[in-house]
């Protein structure tokens, strides 16, 4: 048996980037689902908790969690690895006068910073929600957190970092996976920005609760499609 082909995913630059890109895209997809779930908060306690209960009743959830963990680890490890290689290659502000040549964006130039910010935020997020006391009920736990100014400011920062990270990461992953063509590359770029901007909804949601708007408005009714999925 010859496993050289699979090994190259780890031993070559493009292989590592492929892992980073593929895991990144998967994580971006996860974030979109996560966002959709969070939006259920708008529909009120019953709807949100009902969905969470439905999820938790699935026996495959621990497996999915491990999968998610692997995705995160793969993304983080290959990301750091690639970064170290790039450091060795003599990159980063090589010149006395360093300036963009016109290719970089704020998102791309800050990838490593948003990455570390997200990592820190991830740990915080896990402590706060994943390993927290779930007995008060999920809706209660989340909305309570969202009424805490300090928490919301961290949460907003995390969401913005994520948006920035994805503004480059999404289309970059497609490029790395070889999916770039003059015909549709602008569509991928646009989709990347749309995904990035949608991450701001996380932040808006927390602010919504912080300002107590949920108390002022009745729970929103979800669009018809979502309704049928939930029920």
């Amino acid at each position: 048996m010859n496993f050289k082909f699979a090994l190259r995913l780890f031993t070559s630059s493009i292989g590592r980037k492929t892992i980073m890109a593929a895991s990144g895209l998967a994580l971006a997809f996860f974030m979109l689902v996560h966002l959709a779930e969070n939006l259920l908060l708008l529909k009120g306690e019953a709807a949100y908790n009902g969905w969470v209960d439905f999820l938790l009743s699935n026996p495959l959830i621990p497996v999915a969690e491990i999968g998610l963990l692997i995705l995160f680890l793969a993304h983080i490890i290959t990301g750091l690895w690639v970064r170290y290689e790039n450091y060795k290659a003599g990159g980063f502000s090589k010149y006395e006068e360093s300036k963009s040549q016109g290719g970089r964006t704020i998102g791309s130039a800050t990838m490593i910073y948003t990455a570390f910010a997200l990592l820190a935020y991830l740990v915080y997020h896990m402590i706060h929600f994943r390993f927290a006391d779930h007995s008060v009920g999920f809706y209660q736990m989340v909305t309570e957190a969202f009424r805490n100014k300090l928490f919301v400011s961290v949460y907003v920062a995390g969401a913005l970092a994520l948006a920035l990270h994805l503004s480059h990461g999404f289309q970059s992953a497609f490029q790395t996976l070889g999916l770039n063509h003059d015909k549709y590359s602008f569509l991928i770029k646009a989709a990347g920005y749309a995904v990035a901007v949608s991450m701001i909804l996380f932040a808006m949601l927390s602010v919504y609760f912080l300002l107590g708007m949920d108390l002022r408005f009745a729970p929103l009714s979800a669009p018809k499609v979502l309704e049928t999925v939930i029920n």
Partner: protein, 272 residues
């Protein structure tokens, strides 16, 4: 005759013994706008030589933007402020009286410095020798028109083949990656039917050589595309990535070739 103007130059100087260099400042008077940037440096060097000072080591050859020999970072701009051109095509009319111009060499670990603004870019040749060719012996080729090539594909191959090997993509890359250079050659030969039989081994070996020589990883910031004098597109990098995945997961395993490089005048220790 046009009237000249005065400039101040801050030039990176490094002797052959030093590990690192420093900036030295020179004043130059009566710079004619019609001069090319390199002619301005010629004038400065003539002046320095006459004054008994050491001239600045700087490389150029064809001075018409095709040989890829010149390459400087001018005020932080790779190949100078003009878009998609080489240093030798830059003219002094882009500057004005009193300007302070900072000149640095291209920097990247796989491009060891030699002296002042002169660096060693033989690593790029080594990437080519790992597979940037079609294996066909002189005299054995079939009639040229026996394989038709779609015109727009031929144009695409030509777009990629226009690379002049100046190394600006590596110099501009925040990661010192050579993926635009490598991707361009892989693309040219992947698009043309003539390169098809060796597609698999080519991409695997060239990527291996690129990694081995210490170039960085592409983080898709597209600085390379922005400076490339020949406007080579990053879709070539995407194609290389595609070729790489294809070679790994779709194609039969081709025997791997050992990397044999020529020796450059500046030895890279890993290679010995």
């Amino acid at each position: 005759m046009e009237k000249g103007f005065n400039i101040t130059l801050r030039v990176w100087k490094k002797s052959q013994d030093e590990k690192d260099g420093r900036f030295e400042t020179y004043k130059l008077e009566n710079v004619i706008p019609d001069m090319s940037f390199l002619e301005m440096l010629d004038v400065l060097n003539e002046k320095l030589l006459k004054e008994g000072k050491e001239p600045i080591a700087v490389e150029s050859d064809c001075r018409e933007g095709i040989c890829g020999c010149c390459g400087l970072v001018i005020n932080g701009d790779v190949h100078g402020p003009d878009e998609h051109s080489t240093v030798c095509q830059l003219h002094m009319r882009r500057f004005k009286d009193g300007d302070i111009i900072t000149i640095e060499p291209f920097k990247a670990s796989p491009f060891p410095p030699i002296k002042d603004l002169v660096i060693d870019r033989s690593a790029l040749d080594k990437i080519i020798s790992a597979g940037g060719y079609v294996s066909v012996n002189a005299g054995s080729a079939p009639e040229a028109n026996s394989i038709p090539v779609n015109k727009s594909l031929a144009e695409k191959a030509m777009d990629a083949a226009a690379c002049i090997g100046c190394g600006a993509c590596v110099a501009a890359c925040p990661n010192s990656a050579a993926m635009l250079f490598t991707g361009a050659k892989i693309s040219q030969l992947a698009i043309l039917p003539q390169g098809n039989p060796e597609r698999t081994s080519r991409v695997l070996n060239m990527v291996k050589a690129m990694d081995f020589l210490g170039f960085g990883n592409c983080s898709n910031e597209y600085e390379c595309e922005a400076v490339c004098p020949k406007e080579i597109k990053i879709s070539n990098i995407a194609r290389m990535n595609r070729e790489f995945l294809r070679a790994n997961f779709i194609c039969e395993e081709d025997p791997e070739m050992p990397l044999v490089f020529h020796k450059s005048t500046v030895d890279i220790p890993e290679e010995e």
